[in-house]
């Protein structure tokens, strides 16, 4: 076993703070995931469908990638191919040099961690700032994330308070909302000043060329909307074939990751800013990163490429819970970008059996990871393949396992005994005699106290083997054996569920508006109903209750007639935000937008960017007020993603409640980079449908 790994394990187990943090993580995450899955009609079937979709993608990766690239190019996105980390870094820095960029704002991307992008860019003189709160914290500490979803899961509030005192010069506090606010304030300027925004990609949709980026805090929206240039780093396996498949994945990813039905912001990005768009980056680049993935695809570890990076296997894993993400280190003691069960397969697959193969040995193979996996990856099977030495450059026939020497020796002896009934019986007699003697020495105690170095003796006693084995005793009792043919029905669990896809059409009879309102309120959003003519009144009330006199608003053509005029007459200054004026208007506290649709069962609204519809109006202010027509509410995400408008918009976003984070001690804090208040006003009259039909 790698000694560095063992040393890290011992350090983690002895760290009381870390143990508290990891316990809290597992307990909370497992519970919220369970609750979130209960809201799905047939979660097991969805997992199997998702597994099949991911399998199909990896089987036909080349053609799906080609489709994706063709559409993305048509949409005006620049596509780059990076074979390895070195090329990926070169592409990013080339773009950055060409732009004369100084400041780069990043949303969380595990691919960038994998290729060590920050370090490389900083060496070339760029300032790189992580904007996900958890990732910002670990960056300030000069650490790598310890969890792929909650990077600072290993820290407690005191650690963060101290860090902010040291690095940001803030007075020490243990108040998480104060810390979050401080980060919001510091990072707000970064978003506005950044020349380039870098994000990851959760999914790329082959049939449309759309990329989907999921965040809760709003930083993902910021870096893909505000800076002049957006670069998306995308692992080549991150493809889904269709928008329907995307809806399926989105029904599983946030539920598995954070127990949310949908993350607060689900951005669907199509194109760069076009001539008539008020905002959005002038340039969008996608860097397709291979970095070993194609080789993994052609190996027996290919199933690990099905992973959608939800982190639920980390939360479910009893070993991760004991040792935490930073303990997963390579032979050289350097941390593995991907920890936990998925990392124990992915790291050896991508970065070498010799370097990381030992990680797969730290598993009791309990199967909690497989059970938690939203795409039903058979992680125990893959862990066992890694243990057998099967890897990217080690197919089955030449695979060399690397168990610790003593263990291999012991097992060789065992195998020798167990491959002959006679030798086996003889060995049993020997250990039986050993057991009898041991019991005599201990004056009748049938327990053997093995030394700690034996492994077992570290914390457990071993029962004395019986003087006479079962087979010996059986032989003396049973005279003969009876043989008989019997027919048995097949096992109940042998056939995998192959029943047809479930009916995705709505099976609820309840009022869509009521369901939507309930879900929205559960997320912390506010809901009101109004007529079209009077919609200005509740808006004015909201603004007045906060003492607000100016608002970032969509163009009047995209909102109900007379709305902006009424507000103006009531003394509200109306500002139409664009990329050009956003810096001077970044302090405006309220934003007003329409919506293109809503999802009742998740309480989400859909916002489409495009002419007259600046995305920043729903992103920068503290308060976002959105107008929703009753008839635009659908039951499910799978219905909403079929809207033509999504493909025509440069970028779309699903918003599920106010911006939030739980990056410090998993304590929910509302209002990070996006709005902390979300008011939805539902227009419930026939007039509304006519008035805005051709506008959204």
């Amino acid at each position: 076993m790698a000694n560095e790994f063992h040393a890290h394990i011992k350090t983690s187990l002895a760290d009381a703070n870390l143990q508290l943090a990891l316990d809290a993580n597992s307990e909370k995450r497992i519970k919220v995931r369970q609750i979130a899955f209960e809201s799905l009609p047939n979660p097991q079937q969805l997992r199997m469908r998702a597994h099949d979709v991911r399998a199909r993608v990896i089987d036909h990766l080349d053609s799906y990638l080609e489709q994706f690239i063709t559409h993305a190019l048509d949409n005006g996105i620049v596509i780059h191919h990076a074979v390895d980390a070195h090329q990926a870094i070169e592409i990013v820095s080339e773009i950055a040099f060409k732009q004369g960029a100084k400041l780069i704002a990043k949303a969380k991307t595990m691919v960038s961690e994998e290729i060590k992008l920050n370090h490389a860019l900083e060496k070339q003189g760029f300032q790189v700032v992580e904007t996900d709160l958890g990732e910002y914290i670990v960056q300030l500490r000069g650490e790598a994330p310890s969890h792929i979803i909650t990077p600072a899961v290993h820290l407690r509030r005191q650690d963060v308070g101290k860090l902010f005192e040291d690095k940001l010069g803030l007075p020490y506090t243990e108040d998480i909302s104060l810390m979050t606010n401080a980060a919001r304030h510091t990072l707000r300027q970064i978003f506005l000043d950044a020349d380039i925004g870098i994000s990851g990609v959760n999914f790329g949709v082959a049939e449309t060329g759309t990329i989907c980026v999921v965040t809760n805090e709003g930083n993902g929206r910021m870096v893909t909307t505000v800076p002049r240039t957006h670069i998306a780093l995308m692992g080549i396996e991150r493809i889904v074939p269709t928008m329907d498949d995307l809806a399926l994945m989105l029904s599983l990813l946030p539920r598995s990751a954070t127990g949310q039905k949908l993350s607060v912001y689900t951005s669907l990005i199509m194109s760069p800013r076009r001539a008539d768009d008020p905002d959005g980056p002038q340039e969008r680049h996608i860097i397709l990163v291979d970095n070993g993935r194609l080789k993994v695809r052609d190996s027996e570890l290919r199933e690990i490429l099905f992973c959608i990076r939800c982190g639920s296997c980390l939360n479910a894993c009893p070993v991760f819970r004991e040792i935490g993400g930073h303990a997963y280190v390579g032979k050289d003691g350097k941390g593995s970008t991907y920890p936990g069960p998925v990392g124990s397969v992915l790291a050896p697959a991508l970065f070498g059996q010799d370097e990381y193969g030992h990680l797969a040995r730290a598993s009791s193979l309990c199967g909690a990871c497989k059970e938690a996996c939203p795409v039903d990856i058979d992680l125990p099977k893959l862990l066992l393949r890694v243990r057998a030495g099967i890897g990217v450059n080690q197919p089955r026939n030449i695979a060399k396992p690397n168990p610790p020497n003593m263990l291999a020796m012991g097992l060789s002896l065992f195998t020798l005994a167990a491959t002959s009934p006679r030798r086996f019986a003889f060995a049993q007699r020997m250990v039986g005699i050993f057991g009898t003697i041991s019991t005599m020495i201990t004056k009748g105690d049938p327990w053997i106290h093995l030394p700690a170095f034996s492994g077992w003796g570290y914390s457990k006693d071993f029962p004395s083997p019986a003087a006479n084995s079962f087979r010996t005793r059986y032989r003396t009792q049973v005279k003969h054996e009876v043989y008989e043919e019997t027919d048995l029905p097949p096992h109940s669990d042998s056939a995998r569920d192959n029943s047809p896809e479930p009916d995705v059409s709505s099976h609820y009879d309840e009022d869509l508006v009521a369901i939507f309102a309930n879900e929205l309120q559960a997320l912390g959003g506010k809901f009101r109903i109004s007529s079209t003519e009077e919609v200005w009144q509740p808006i004015l009330e909201i603004l007045q209750s906060h003492g607000i006199h100016e608002i970032l608003a969509w163009n009047e053509d995209t909102l109900p007639d007379m709305l902006l005029r009424k507000l103006y007459e009531a003394g509200i200054q109306i500002i139409f935000p664009t990329s050009e004026n956003i810096r001077e208007n970044s302090q405006v506290r309220a934003g007003l937008s329409g919506t293109a649709g809503a999802i009742a069962e998740t309480g989400s609204i859909l916002i489409l960017g495009g002419p007259g519809r600046p995305l920043t109006a729903s992103l920068l202010p503290e308060i976002h007020i959105a107008i929703l027509r009753e008839k635009d509410i659908f039951m499910q995400l799978s219905q909403l993603v079929k809207l033509e408008g999504i493909k025509q918009a440069p970028a779309a976003v699903l918003i599920s409640g106010p911006s939030r984070t739980a990056d410090i001690e998993m304590t929910l804090t509302i209002g990070v980079h996006g709005p902390g208040e979300l008011d939805i006003i539902c227009l419930r009259d026939n007039h509304a449908n006519v008035a805005m039909d051709n506008r959204l």
Partner: protein, 242 residues
Amino acid sequence: MTTTVQLFITCIIDTIYPETGEAVVRILEKAGARVSFPPNQTCCGQPAFNAGLRAQARKMATQTIQAFEPYPGPVVVPSGSCAAMIRHTYAELFAEDPEWLQRASTLASRTYEFSEFLVDKLGVTDLGASYEGKLTYHSSCHLLRGMGVDRQPRALLAAVHNAEFVELPNTADCCGFGGIFSIEHPEISDAMLERKIENLEKSGAPIVVSCDAGCVTNINGGLHRKHKNQRAVHIADILDKV
């Protein structure tokens, strides 16, 4: 027609817990089956397989397959993880050997875990067992997640006369055994076992029942070292009590 079952006793019960093996035989007979013990059986090969030593595991697996081939009828295994090894994992072990794959899958298709066989195949839950006191149940990983067997042992325990069944908090959490894992990573294994013991204490039961002698050995080994009074027992030892 009386069913004759081929008993695969497993190496742990064979070597360490012969009385448990005898209880298994008595219970199967009480439930109406005839029991046969194919003499050439040794170990299913799981220890070597889990260590990554597949060549060795294959030797033990072929030994096991051959040991049972002459004996028709259901193969009953009083251990969730050994049953799961035969039923699911042999396919992985022989993926590139069509002949042995076929022979392995024939064995897999007639292999059952003990409690599963009693309840699902023999249709028995009440075996007339009686136990005075509190009992709780640890759902072993490979039995629960590998084989999907949970309802069956619970039904058997629910039918034990005079026993008070209490739920073990987080029963589905691994006890930290994991075969060779517990030897390679004793520190992590211990931390996991500590939680299991804590939950056992919370349950208030002096006895925790499991369908896997591996879990029983692990949990008892820790309980004994830590001077705790609770004990883990194999389900056959409870069902055998009258």
